[in-house]
């Protein structure tokens, strides 16, 4: 069974009739990594936000099935507890809430939904420290409020740390490479690669091919004008890099 099955998805930004997504279809099976590439304004962020259930978007047609469930019928927090994780392009600051507290709250919310007991404080600390160490996240960052005063690289590393801790089934990475220098990009990519398992699917959304040198996708989709104009294997990304988006967007217009 497919992990994520998007069929003919149409969506608009709330209070606007202008369609952003005009019929997206794609299927991710467990263990697969799909990349969605596209120019600015193609609808990349809309796609990730619609999957995560962010308010402010209206789905006007099509469906999203996640692990056999109608994802669009679920609230944003239910989707998250069901295993859908969005690594944000711009992670928001939450003053006064320590990163560790936040993570523990999120983890226990999921455990509770699954009828599991709360995680033991000691187990949580062990798990968090192990993950943090692997991702090069210093301990003091865990005590600092969520994303407050974090550099661009720290924010993205913290996102991957959260991903590692919450153990999602589907990871949506929204331009995780934006604002990262090459060293930070490597650390983040290594973190993501470590999470690739036969059960887990990933949707990597990016503007540049660069990230895909480190997170090697199984399938690449080109998104332009709200539609997937071409799909292929990893070589498609290289082709894009060589030819630019122009060649593909013209094809759509035609």
């Amino acid at each position: 069974m497919a992990l994520l099955d998007i069929k003919d998805l149409h969506a608009t930004v709330e209070d606007d009739t202008k369609a952003i997504l005009k019929g997206i279809s794609l299927t991710i099976k467990p263990g697969e990594v799909h990349a969605v590439m596209g120019p600015n304004g193609a609808g990349k962020s809309t796609l990730s936000n619609v999957i995560a259930g962010r308010p402010g978007y209206t789905v006007t047609g099509g469906s999203i099935t996640y692990d056999g469930q109608d994802l669009l019928a679920m609230e944003a927090d239910e989707r998250a507890r069901a295993g859908v994780f969005l690594a944000f392009q711009y992670p928001v600051e939450i003053p006064g809430v320590a990163t560790a507290t936040f993570l523990k709250t999120a983890l226990n919310a999921r455990r509770k939904a699954n009828g599991e007991p709360e995680i033991e404080a000691l187990d949580f600390m062990k798990m968090m420290k192990a993950n943090a160490k692997r991702l090069g996240v210093p301990d003091d960052m865990l005590k600092r409020p969520v994303n407050v005063g974090f550099s661009g690289g720290e924010k993205k590393r913290a996102e991957v740390l959260q991903m590692a801790m919450l153990e999602p089934r589907l990871c949506v990475l929204d331009e995780t490479d934006s604002g990262l220098d090459i060293d930070a990009l490597k650390v983040v990519a290594d973190g993501v690669n470590a999470l690739r398992t036969p059960e887990r699917g990933m949707l990597v959304i990016t503007h540049y091919q660069r990230l895909l040198n480190y997170i090697v996708p199984d399938v690449v989709h080109v998104l332009a004008g709200g539609r997937i104009v071409k799909s292929g294997d990893r070589t498609l990304a290289e082709e894009l890099e060589a030819k630019g988006y122009g060649a593909f967007t013209e094809a759509t217009a035609a």
């Binding site: 308010p55 998250a80 969005l86 944000f88 939450i94 003053p95 006064g96 523990k104 709250t105 999120a106």
Partner: protein
């Protein structure tokens, strides 16, 4: 950290109900309803008070008759009929006061256990001494003996009147005079009990002192009076908690708290106020009209108020510091949460008199539902307050579009070398913050509690540990039903 999860559990546990809304079935002794000189004489006689105290009460009562209720606060409520309340209600016991916990009515002990305040010393949180005030009288003070050995006096104010008349006569009404304001004057006339603390010279009181107030009886006003004296070089941390049963009618709570810090002394006074706030429609609840004032009499003295205000239908409260001693420090840390139909007009006054006095005000107001909340504060730099400093930060958070949040600071500068700095913001929980939490699987109400706890963190972390956890839970509970 754990508290956040606890918040969530607690929300599930109480699911919208006021947890402390039970009534204790206990036999009680009440004076007849109404207020007149005879009632005041009755209260005074009941407590075997000296003549001077009765005179003082009567003076206050007569003055009160000439006063009118303050109308400047941004709160509205129907007129209070001061004749339609009991001014004295006490749990019946064989003697005037129980000699030990064994004499305390077991029903009462169970009440406090339900409230999470075990009075039996062996069951107590280590290092917290408790004075429990039930309706009008103090029912038990724990760890008394141990404290007495160190020279710390911690007892009910009635007992202090009998045993330490000199201290009482010297300090009672010396910070909040009987003529201070309508509610404080009423309290001076009819106060029934409260706590008294004296910390001797040079002693750092090794345990937290705590009073737990509970209004139980119907139609009862609670008028407790607390007096804390920190002698030179001493330190004490004092905690106050309050609850009341759920009742349809409004009940008046008009307390007075007086603090005195002498040279190099420090008092830390923390309150978690969770009086019954009324139901979602605004029916019932406590009118919390309280006068709290601390005098930093001595050089280098310090008084720090921390309050977490989540309860009461109407709150009118301005814990203040009079900074008389040179280099003295006043602090006010406040979290006030109003939800449903609650109204709160609260803040502080920092009166800088001495040289190089310092004050710091951090106020976090959260308004939800149809509630109205006002921060009202005064910073006054007197002409002799050479080199004084004040910093004020006042932040308001609105949850929903039917509530109000107001900020009314008064800043009076009469010395050029005194620096005053005031900042205030009003905002709401951003959609982005909320979505971020939802995306991590945190349900909306928990997310709001989490974000609000973060917003209040600077204040909550000034609370002693035992209270901080309680307070964090309260933040979540108080905001139930405010979203969605």
């Amino acid at each position: 950290m754990a508290a956040t999860q606890d918040t969530i559990d607690r929300i599930a546990e109480v699911s919208g109900a006021y947890k402390y809304g039970f009534v204790t079935e206990i036999e009680s002794e009440k004076a007849p309803k109404g207020l007149n000189e005879d009632i005041i004489r009755f209260i005074s006689a009941k407590k075997a008070e000296p003549e001077w105290l009765l005179d003082w009460r009567l003076k206050a009562y007569r003055f009160w008759l000439t006063m009118s209720e303050p109308d400047w606060a941004k709160v509205g409520y129907p007129p209070i009929d001061y004749q339609d309340a009991y001014y004295y209600a006490a749990p019946k016991s064989k003697d005037d006061a129980p000699k030990s916990l064994d004499e305390v009515d077991p029903e009462l002990l169970r009440t406090y256990e339900k409230l999470g305040i075990p009075l039996r010393e062996q069951e107590m949180l280590a290092g917290v001494a408790v004075d429990a005030v039930f309706d009008s009288v103090s029912v038990a003070t724990t760890y008394k003996k141990k404290l007495e050995e160190m020279g710390v006096i911690f007892c009910s104010i009635s007992e202090a009147v009998r045993r330490y008349p000199d201290l009482i006569q010297k300090y009672l009404g010396s910070i909040v005079p009987y003529s201070d304001n309508f509610f404080a004057t009423l309290n001076s006339a009819v106060f029934t009990d409260g706590s008294f603390v004296y910390v001797p010279k040079g002693l750092r009181c090794p345990m937290e002192l705590s009073t737990y107030f509970r209004i139980n009886e119907r139609d009862t006003g609670q008028f407790e009076r607390t007096l804390i004296i920190a002698d030179a070089g001493s330190y004490v941390s004092y905690l106050e908690g309050c609850t009341a049963p759920q009742r349809d009618e409004n009940q008046l709570h008009a307390a007075v708290v007086e603090l005195v810090a002498l040279d190099d002394a420090e008092i830390k006074y923390s309150t978690v106020q969770n009086w019954y706030p009324g139901d979602a429609e605004g029916k019932g609840g406590i009118y919390n009209f309280v006068t709290k004032r601390g005098a930093c009499r001595g050089r280098n003295s310090k008084i720090s108020w921390t309050q977490v205000e989540t309860g009461s239908a109407v709150t009118w409260k301005y814990p203040s510091c009079v900074l008389q001693g040179d280099n003295s420090v006043g602090e006010f840390y406040s979290v006030a949460i109003t939800n449903n139909a609650q109204q709160a007009d609260t803040g502080t006054k920092m009166i800088h008199i001495g040289k190089n006095t310092r004050s710091r005000i951090i106020s976090k107001g959260i308004s939800a539902g149809r509630a109205d909340q006002t921060y009202r504060g005064l910073v006054r730099m007197m002409p002799k307050a050479e080199g004084a400093r004040n910093y004020t930060q006042c932040d308001s958070l609105l949850i929903g579009d039917r509530c109000g949040a107001h900020t009314v600071p008064y800043i009076e500068s009469r010395n050029p070398t005194a620096q005053v700095e005031h900042e205030a913001t009003t905002s709401r929980i951003s959609d982005d913050q909320l979505f971020y939490c939802l995306q991590r699987g945190i349900p909306e109400e928990d997310a709001v509690a989490l974000i609000v706890n973060g917003f209040c963190k600077e204040v909550l972390q000034t609370l002693p540990m035992e209270f901080a956890v309680e307070a964090q839970k309260l933040v979540g509970i108080s905001l139930e039903g405010s979203v969605g």
